[in-house]
Subunit: 295 residues, 2 copies
Amino acid sequence: MPEAVTRVMSEVTTRVGCAQLALAVGDGPGNAAQIRLAVNRAADAGAKVIVLPELANTGYAFDDRRELASLAEAVDGPTVTEWLELARGLDVTIVGGIAERGDDGRFYNSAVMADPEGLRARYRKAHLWNTEKGLFTAGDERPPVVATSFGRIAIMICYDVEFSEWVRDVALRGADLLCLPVNWPLYPRPATERPAEIVRVQAAASSNRMFIAAADRTSEERGQDWLGGTVIVDADGFPTTALQLGRAGTVMADLPLADARRKAISVGNDVLADRRPELYQAVVDDGSQARPGTI
Amino acid sequence: MPEAVTRVMSEVTTRVGCAQLALAVGDGPGNAAQIRLAVNRAADAGAKVIVLPELANTGYAFDDRRELASLAEAVDGPTVTEWLELARGLDVTIVGGIAERGDDGRFYNSAVMADPEGLRARYRKAHLWNTEKGLFTAGDERPPVVATSFGRIAIMICYDVEFSEWVRDVALRGADLLCLPVNWPLYPRPATERPAEIVRVQAAASSNRMFIAAADRTSEERGQDWLGGTVIVDADGFPTTALQLGRAGTVMADLPLADARRKAISVGNDVLADRRPELYQAVVDDGSQARPGTI
């Protein structure tokens, strides 16, 4: 008989803030000023982990590769240098997205984690969205899972989270909190429905019993409208605060991150232990051809 | 720049019905009568594919294995025999769950597909829920994907759908419609939130651009309350009809199943082609130990 599991929630919480910023492509100083203000305010309000949107240094809607080339920065460039100073000065962990110029001269849609210890991780988006494919090189490394004093923090970027394989990877490696810089384009949806991007984040969290903090952007950019769907979801897959669709501002929540270590969802079930990896091997071996079978 | 894809929706639709039944454990004749009535009415209303709940012949809340043993049936037993007759007589495809007594004397939480041609598939639930683990043997075969005149129809059961590996498997094998018999226990949730079970079905559909028809049960059974969360979700992940939480009755929708063959979600993106299977291999090779990494 299904029974609810009684969980003793940890009393230790970590205040996490997601800054939903009105970024503008090409306005590096303006974007940097918004970030500085948002990080300072969130830290003043007690946030220990602060998530910024994807491509927060540059904005998103590049006219072409030449414009991207003029705006992208190395990981030791001014943007990440400032984030490292903010992290050290305010004693916070910052996860945010940048347009990165790699040592190899290629461009990557990347995210970094800066904390008082320094640069803890750099991740390059592995699943590129639409015209990003003509601008950026896709990353080919697995998403980082970084041990911090708050718990294990994973990083991926926007469209990555729609690939359940990627989400499962960080969950299996023990992630308690997935920090997710995003730039979610605004798409039509039925009037009564929550945006599908948020629904997929909720499902990713509950299927793995892991917290997810997604920081989106807002404001129109060269004809592109953005969802502004910033959301912090708990390990049961429910948003921790009311949605602030489209509004600039910072969403904050106090997360009992240790709750993500308890994968039980009934007396007899555990979302990770119940996997049947011996049966999944064939899925990976297969290509994507349709080969319908019958009894 | 992200752009919406213009899709020409197929004008050919398939009417799919999901019967949300008030099953009662041990009342085989009563359950069979409800099924007969629901299938006849759905067929009269034009449904071509009719989905029934999990364990529709027996109900769910067995006292013990002995009670299950007294109720389970072989696939050539009276329940499936009647479903085959209904399918033939009404020219419909029926997918429903049964407590199955296998040739090996073991019990399985199974689902079958019966159509006018006969028994098209039998599937044994691979991810067992809670006390099912003490009653049933878990299946060890991949979920079927059956070519029909309506499209390719996959089958899995309840908790199976929470394993993204399993859902991806049928999507990669070309499933257009996933028929999902379920018995969803009623759990507490925030007052403003949709049940997590439905959220996960929505995400599974949209992440794979595949229709999902989930037929739940309702009515209290030996102290167990059920969600009654029957839902038919389109390939964008949105419910096709208003939810009828907890109410007995049949949910119907006309589904343009060919829409599931179009996996594009932007000019440059395709939910299956954008996978990075070469990067996922390591995930499968890993166990579930936490091995956090840093830069």
